[in-house]
């Protein structure tokens, strides 16, 4: 079981993004997902910039995957998608079924992202037939359901599980960050840049609940499966996806790397590095915001 660095879901200053990936070249991750998956208005890194980063990371020994945009709305979104698929140098993660069509037409193997909604082995088999080599279950899928799905998974299919980070839960045509500032989406003034880990949404009694990230809504809690490595190994999971955050990401990766090597203290080290409360409800078949450790305490 190895580690993947998921696509950056937030929007950071260009230099911050470049610095982040320069560091990532030295982290113990096998695979790095690159590209803008959330909002087509975010342009501080354009496709040629991502491709240059991809070359650098590949030269550093990382397997690079270009992640496609999750919500395709316009012809210009499709144009970008075609350029990503057409480049041909790197594997692509399909995050909606239009990308699946283009990748299968191109006849290239791809990664089936978690928003393709693969809930059963038959759908996974359809994707395998279209060229998927690796897939991610929906983030809401429990260990038990995943186990049952994997009993009939197509031969050779690699499974990657979202194992750390705020959970991407929903996508909209509306930008909730722009809405917060009473700005129209078309003139959002790129306020996402002010919120490198998203914009916290709390209940009226001050309980952190969700995180607004442009058109994406995330959990406020930080999904964390570092305590579930033996269960993940039992399921023969190929990789764990760690989702980028603005601070301490290298140490988060180190904690998982150490935990994989059997260091028991790694989990408690991780607790201090998270931008929110730990959650793992989905993995245990419960409400996503629940935390099994808390209930046992």
């Amino acid at each position: 079981m190895n580690l993947s660095l998921g696509p950056l879901l937030y929007y950071w200053a260009r230099d911050d993004m470049l610095a982040f990936y320069a560091e990532a070249a030295n982290w113990p991750v096998a695979r790095v997902y690159l590209g803008e998956t959330v909002c087509s208005r975010r342009h501080l890194l354009r496709l040629p910039d991502w491709l240059a980063l991809a070359e650098q990371l590949a030269a550093a020994g990382k397997q690079v995957v270009l992640a496609s945009q999750t919500l395709i709305e316009s012809e210009s979104d499709l144009k970008t998608l075609r350029r990503i698929v057409g480049d041909g140098r790197f594997q692509v993660e399909a995050n909606e079924w239009g990308a699946v069509r283009l990748l299968s037409e191109a006849g290239v193997p791809f990664v089936a992202g978690h928003t393709l909604n693969v809930y059963n082995p038959d759908t996974l088999d359809v994707l395998a037939g279209l060229g998927a080599q690796r897939w991610l279950p929906p983030v809401e899928m429990s260990r038990a359901t995943l186990a049952s799905l994997l009993e009939r998974a197509p031969a050779g299919m690699e499974t990657e599980v979202f194992a750390y980070g705020r959970l991407p839960l929903a996508y909209s045509a509306r930008c909730f960050t722009a809405r917060h500032y009473n700005l129209p989406k078309d003139d959002c003034q790129f306020r996402c840049l002010d919120h490198p880990d998203g914009l916290l949404l709390s209940t009226r009694e001050g309980e952190p609940f969700l995180t607004l990230n442009g058109i994406q809504t995330q959990s406020a809690g930080v999904y964390n499966l570092i305590g579930e490595l033996s269960a993940l190994r039992e399921l023969n999971i190929a990789s764990l996806r760690l989702s980028p955050q603005s601070r301490h990401m290298g140490r988060v990766v180190d904690a998982f790397h150490a935990a994989l090597a059997g260091e028991h203290k790694a989990a408690s080290a991780l607790a201090r590095l998270m931008p929110g409360q730990a959650i793992d409800g989905y993995w245990h078949g419960r409400a996503g915001l629940e935390n099994s450790m808390e209930q046992h305490a």
């Binding site: 999750t70 919500l71 395709i72 709305e73 316009s74 012809e75 499709l78 998608l81 909606e96 079924w97 239009g98 990308a99 699946v100 069509r101 283009l102 299968s104 928003t115 909604n117 809930y119 059963n120 082995p121 038959d122 759908t123 996974l124 088999d125 359809v126 994707l127 279209l130 929906p138 809401e140 359901t145 049952s148 959970l167 839960l169 929903a170 996508y171 909209s172 045509a173 509306r174 930008c175 909730f176 809405r179 917060h180 129209p184 914009l199 916290l200 949404l201 709390s202 209940t203 009226r204 009694e205 309980e207 609940f209 969700l210 607004l212 809504t217 989905y282 419960r286 409400a287 996503g288």
Partner: protein
Amino acid sequence: MPLDLICPAGSLVSLKAAIDYGADAVYMGFRDNTNARAFPGLNFDEAQAAEGLRYAHDRGRRVLLALNTYPQPDSWSRWTGAVDRAAKLGMDAVILADAGLMRYAVKQHPQLRLHLSVQGSATSYEAVNLYREHFGIQRAVLPRVLSLPQVENVVRHTDVEIELFGFGGLCVMVEGRCLLSSYCTGESPNSAGVCSPPKAVQWTDTPAGLESRLNGVLLDRYGKNEKAGYPTLCKGRFEVGGETYYAIEEPTSLNTLDLLPEMLKIGIAAIKIEGRQRSPAYVTQVTKVWRAAIDAVKKNADSFKPTPAWQAELNKLSEGQSHTLGAYHRPWK
């Protein structure tokens, strides 16, 4: 026929009301979690479905069956069994979201007409055409996220019929891509067929006001003169950056009467009315208004203008007594 009117049937009474007042087709679900309105007391068993089909077919109308949740590995046969039943009953189409289930339907029942559900989250013609090529879908229901010019672009690049939501509860998120409900309650539309399920709702009268909670999470608190609506998670009031407001969406309904001439012009095949969970009275009123409006726009699209009476009638039935054009109208975004 362009602009077919597709109305919700949560029960046999609603189905008959929709047909009597002019629906071209109704859509229904079986009484389990194979559809996205898996509410207690709602939907059809096999005998009721057969009676509904007879009632509709005798009057030259159609019945579509929503099988639009994602089959779970342990209960796969519940979904395939539902497809088999739909074929046996003679449903005019099944509305599916899951590719694996589509493959099953095509293989076992090649004559069964397939529609791609809004829960399939297809927002581009590339996605729609994938389902066309591999499973022969005849129609796709688009998520409520595209502007009308974007919808037109989809129509222009596919021979799949395009169906749009015209009226009813407004999903602000891409359908099929929203897990907020399971994050809060453990059950989502994708895997359980429910959003913000009634069993997780709790109302409490407190000194600070009437509170609505979903699995313990405070969604809203209402002052004395405020009208409380059903606590759908995305329509609560929350705190962001020190401000309390409808951070995701107001309690409002989608109403696209104004857009009918454009929808006709760009070749929309059908308009769907949301609300299988609503009463037969609701179905009656909405069907009446939309039948009249669609007839009027087909007669003369250039002079079409929704009457104040229609709008007043629909506003009465809307959540929060207000309506929006949603994403069809760009500034909403």
